[in-house]
């Protein structure tokens, strides 16, 4: 019988049928971070349970840790230090490998897991973090869960899951110059809604997707959670294998993963086709990623008044040309070396507009070092950007460092929710290219 990539991984990991469409699924890898990791490990301990196989559990300090140079366990977030120190202690007690503040491998969980070959094709990988779907780019079944489910997975090596339906999203044709994976996923969510993928595991495919490098594929899968999908995934191919070969935790030689594709005549519960040539650089105007438009377009006349009021906008107006206060490049969506290279190419020899605060937060310490080795940091700092240590940083406001009150922010992140980057902060999400050019012009601008 023909199977989808999702079905192959599901069937491989199914330990018991729990009835009612649910299954007990084996979990191969677990990743924690200091924001929710300590809660899960402490919860487990309080219940008198232990981590079944700590060698397959990893943790990192990325969410709360400061990104200012010279950082320590001290954080600008009140009480943030406890998240770092308690996670450290809990990981030590449980025998879990932690990539800690100051470690050369430290960085955003969904950036460092691929860097070290912790995610691999065909694996099940979970983390108490919604953007775990990013790692589906490697042909793994990777998805975000809550703390209780993380405890369950650590204690039992399994999760109880309602089997999702399958969806195939096919991007055909060539992207126009200046259009990126970020624009592809924003276009999908804008067209089909923030709930468009609910109940489905999404496989991205099509000639356009196959041409993307691994970092762009991660950007595409990253926002599957903003589409309410369980996950996004891409079948592994030569690009995937070339990326993984030689990574620290990847097997050597790499196993044969060639059967990890959807069979030719496999059927999906839902199909969406998008002509890649029709995708333009996108930007969000509202307070949901679904409230996004092409930069050449205008805010819909049917726009939700609550979103318009929060964003200080009117229906029918253009987003291109809006003056900005802050430009932010970072997050698990767009903070990898290729993102920084493309942004640097656009700001080289130029300077940010007066009054604009511009930040670059590399996705990992490894990305930071690689960028510095090719001089990207100098390009950015000469252009007036701040160059930070790696972490999640101001993708969200945790009560410590924040943007100036009332700021309008152009951001390479994934969420433009009310208050996400701070009370009253107005966030527009877009590609790193759009953020870079907007920082220079001081207005939201197409690359």
């Amino acid at each position: 019988m023909s199977k989808t990539l999702f079905d192959k991984i599901w069937d491989r990991h199914l330990i018991a049928d729990l009835g009612g469409g649910s299954g007990l699924i084996a979990i191969d890898r677990i990743f924690l971070h200091e924001r929710t990791g300590a809660a899960a490990l402490n919860g487990l301990k309080a219940a008198g349970r232990s981590v079944a196989d700590p060698a397959r559990v990893f943790a990192v300090t990325d969410h709360i840790v400061d990104t200012r140079p010279g950082r320590t366990d001290q954080t600008m977030m009140p009480g943030g230090q406890a998240f770092i120190t308690e996670t450290r202690a809990a990981c030590r007690d449980a025998g879990i490998t932690l990539f800690d503040v100051g470690d050369p491998e430290q960085g955003i969980v969904h950036v460092i897991s691929p860097e070290m070959g912790i995610v691999l094709p065909g694996l099940t990988l979970i983390a108490p973090d919604s953007h775990t779907c990013t790692q589906g780019a490697f042909g793994a079944l990777a998805w975000g869960i809550g703390s209780s489910e993380a405890e369950h997975a650590m204690a039992t090596g399994t999760l109880r899951i309602t089997k999702p339906k399958t969806m195939r999203v096919t991007f055909s044709g060539k992207l126009r110059p200046g259009v990126t994976a970020k624009d592809m996923i924003l276009r999908l969510i804008a067209d089909h809604g923030a709930g468009g993928g609910r109940g489905h595991a999404v496989e991205f495919t099509g000639d356009c997707v196959l041409l993307l490098d691994m970092e762009a594929r991660m950007t595409l899968c990253n926002m599957a959670t903003e589409f309410a999908a369980m996950t996004g995934m891409i079948a592994p191919d030569a690009v995937t294998l070339a990326y993984l070969a030689g990574r620290r935790y990847a097997p050597n030689p790499l196993p044969d993963w060639s059967s990890l594709t959807s069979d030719k005549d496999a059927s999906f519960d839902r199909e969406i086709n998008i002509d890649a040539a029709t995708i333009e650089p996108m930007v969000s105007w509202g307070t949901s990623p679904a409230q996004s438009i092409a930069l050449s377009g205008t805010v819909p006349t049917t726009a939700d008044p609550k979103s318009l009021t929060y964003m200080g906008l009117k229906a029918g107006q253009m987003i291109a040309g809006l003056p900005i206060d802050v430009a932010f490049i970072g997050s698990c969506t767009n903070s990898r070396l290729s993102d920084l290279r493309r942004a640097a190419a656009l700001v080289k020899g130029r300077h940010i507009a007066p009054g604009v605060l511009a930040l670059i937060v590399p996705g990992s310490s490894q990305v930071k070092r690689a960028a510095e080795a090719e001089g990207l940091d100098t390009i950015f700092t000469n252009a007036g950007f701040e160059w930070r240590e790696s972490g999640c940083s101001l993708c969200f406001y945790a009560g410590g460092e924040g943007f100036p009150p009332g700021s309008r922010v152009i951001s390479s992140t994934n969420r433009n929710f009310e208050g996400r980057q701070g009370p009253g902060i107005r966030t527009h999400i877009a590609s790193p290219e759009v953020v870079a050019v907007s920082a220079i012009t001081g207005r939201i601008s197409a690359p």
Binding site: T87, L120, P128, S148, G195, E226, Y397
Partner: protein, 197 residues
């Protein structure tokens, strides 16, 4: 976990789509590594005019007369989207919300509800509008909501229903499969040795 059997309360309407977990509990309100101390931060962006001084916003539904002690919320599509933070559910439960009725739920939030004894009910927009502001009785075993003379049936995943009704602990349930898990892993170690570090 406390079993969920029946619940009688007034339905507090929060008629918005895509209510995200940053709105339910902003990151800055998650001040400790524990699972408690969250109820004052619930809906902080909408509930307070001044978040630091906790000055209530009287326009917000849970601050309005008759709704101060609501234990049922009714909202729109994709409720609980965004961050996977289970703190959103812990905050709702600690505040006293025992059931959320919505047109649809974000998947991680839905599972977090079930793990914490909070009943998520999916209904259509018309039914939710009919229930808003009404005194209702929810019967989980019978999968129905009674409101005056009317009854609204709801569907729920069998696993979720059983766990909520009996207040079961998922980890205890899974440990009953310990032998099957051990067998599977022994087989898998031979077939995919590279998975085991």
């Amino acid at each position: 976990m406390t079993p969920f059997t029946t619940l009688s309360a007034i339905v507090a309407p929060l008629p918005r789509d895509n209510v995200d977990t940053d709105a339910i509990i902003p990151s800055r309100e998650m001040r400790s590594t524990g699972k408690t101390g969250l109820k004052d931060g619930l809906f902080a962006p909408w509930r307070y005019l001044n978040r630091d001084a906790r000055v209530p916003n009287l326009d917000f539904i849970l601050n309005q007369p008759g709704y101060e002690n609501s234990s049922i919320l009714a909202s729109g599509v994709n409720f609980g989207c965004g961050s996977s933070r289970e703190h959103a559910v812990w905050a709702l439960v600690e505040y006293g919300i025992a059931c959320v009725i919505a047109e649809s739920f974000a998947p991680i939030f839905y599972n977090n509800c079930v793990r914490n004894g909070l009943l998520p009910i999916q209904l259509d927009k018309g039914a939710i509008a009919a229930l808003a502001g009404q005194a209702v009785t929810i019967d989980l075993a019978g999968q129905s909501i009674a409101c005056d003379e009317k009854r609204f049936a709801f569907a729920i995943d069998a696993q979720a229903k059983a766990m909520l009704l009996d207040g079961l602990d998922a980890i205890d349930l899974t440990f009953k499969h310990a032998a099957a898990i051990a067998d599977w892993q022994a087989r898998d170690r031979k077939e995919r040795p590279w998975v085991y570090l």
